[in-house]
C-alpha cells in the first residue's frame, strides 16, 4: 500500500518537472502578436520590465485583445492581487483602445508561454485567448 502511494506521488512530481521544463523560457519577457507591431511590443516589454516584483511576463497580442500573463516573484506573491490591479491600470492607460487582461495567475502565465511556442493560425489563437479570458474570470 505504502509503495503505491509513493509511486503515485513520484508520478505527480515527474509530470510536474516535465511541465516545468516545457514552460521554461530563455528570455524573461516576451510578447506574441498576430501581426507585426514592434511599437506596442516594446511598449509592453518596457511596462513589464519596470515592474520590479515580476520575474517573468508574457503578453499575447491579437486583434484588439492583449492578454498578459505574469509570474510574480515568490516573496511578492502576498501582494499578487494588488500587483495585478496596478498592472491592469497601467496597461489600460497605455493602450486605451484595447481590451486588456492582466493576470498574475500561474495558469494564465503558463498558457500564455505555451501559446508563444506553438505555431497557430490567427483563428485558433483567438479562440485560445478567449478561453483564457473566461478562465481567468472564474471565481472558485
Amino acid at each position: 500500500m505504502k509503495k503505491h502511494v509513493l509511486r503515485f506521488v513520484t508520478l505527480v512530481c515527474v509530470i510536474q518537472l516535465l511541465v516545468a521544463c516545457n514552460g521554461a523560457q530563455k528570455e524573461k519577457f516576451a510578447t506574441f502578436h498576430g501581426e507585426e507591431d514592434t511599437e506596442s511590443q516594446s511598449k509592453i516589454e518596457k511596462l513589464l520590465k519596470d515592474e520590479k516584483s515580476i520575474q517573468k511576463g508574457t503578453a499575447v497580442f491579437i486583434d484588439d485583445i492583449v492578454l498578459v500573463g505574469v509570474e510574480v516573484k515568490p516573496f511578492s506573491k502576498m501582494r499578487k492581487a494588488k500587483i495585478e490591479k496596478a498592472l491592469q491600470k497601467k496597461f489600460e492607460k497605455e493602450f486605451p483602445d484595447k481590451e486588456i487582461l492582466v493576470s498574475t495567475d500561474l495558469k494564465i502565465a503558463w498558457e500564455a508561454q505555451k501559446l508563444m511556442k506553438k505555431e497557430l493560425s490567427e483563428e485558433e489563437l483567438k479562440k485560445k485567448v478567449k478561453k483564457l479570458q473566461e478562465l481567468a474570470k472564474e471565481e472558485t
Binding site: M1, V5, V12, Q16, K107, T140
Partner: protein
Amino acid sequence: MNPKDYEQLQTQLSPKTPILKNVLKAFLVGGIICTIGQAITFFYMANFDFTERTAGNPTVSTMIFIAMLLTGFGLYKKLGQFGGAGSAVPVTGFGNAVISAAIEHKTEGFVLGVGGNIFKLAGSVIVFGVVSAFLVALIKLILVTIGVTDW
C-alpha cells in the same frame, strides 16, 4: 494523601509531553502533506483548465480521496500517531475523521450508522466554520453599513 499532593506525585512520575519533538514532527508531516497538495494543484493546473484559484477544489477532493485509502488500509492512524497535528490539521485529517467514523459505524447500517455518525467527529468543525463565517459576514456588514470600513 490528598488529591493535590497526588497530582504533584503523578506529574513528577509521568512522562512529559515531548513538545519540541512533537512540534517538529507536526511541522514535517504537515509541510509534506501541503507540498503534496501543491504538487497536485500544479498537476491540475498543467493538465486541466484550472487556474491557481480554481485548482483548490479538485486538490482538496484528491487529498481526501488519498485520505480515504490511507484510512481504509489503517495507515492514517499510524501517520496520526507520528505527526499529531501535522496530519490532523490538513484537510486530509478532516477527511480521516469523517471516513473513519463512516467505516466504524457501518455495522449499524448505512442509514443509522454511516449516515447518522459520519460527522460524529468532524461535525464540530462544520458547525463552527459555518457559524463563524455567518458572524464574520454579519459583523463586516454592520461595520460597512456604519461606515467604519469598506468591502
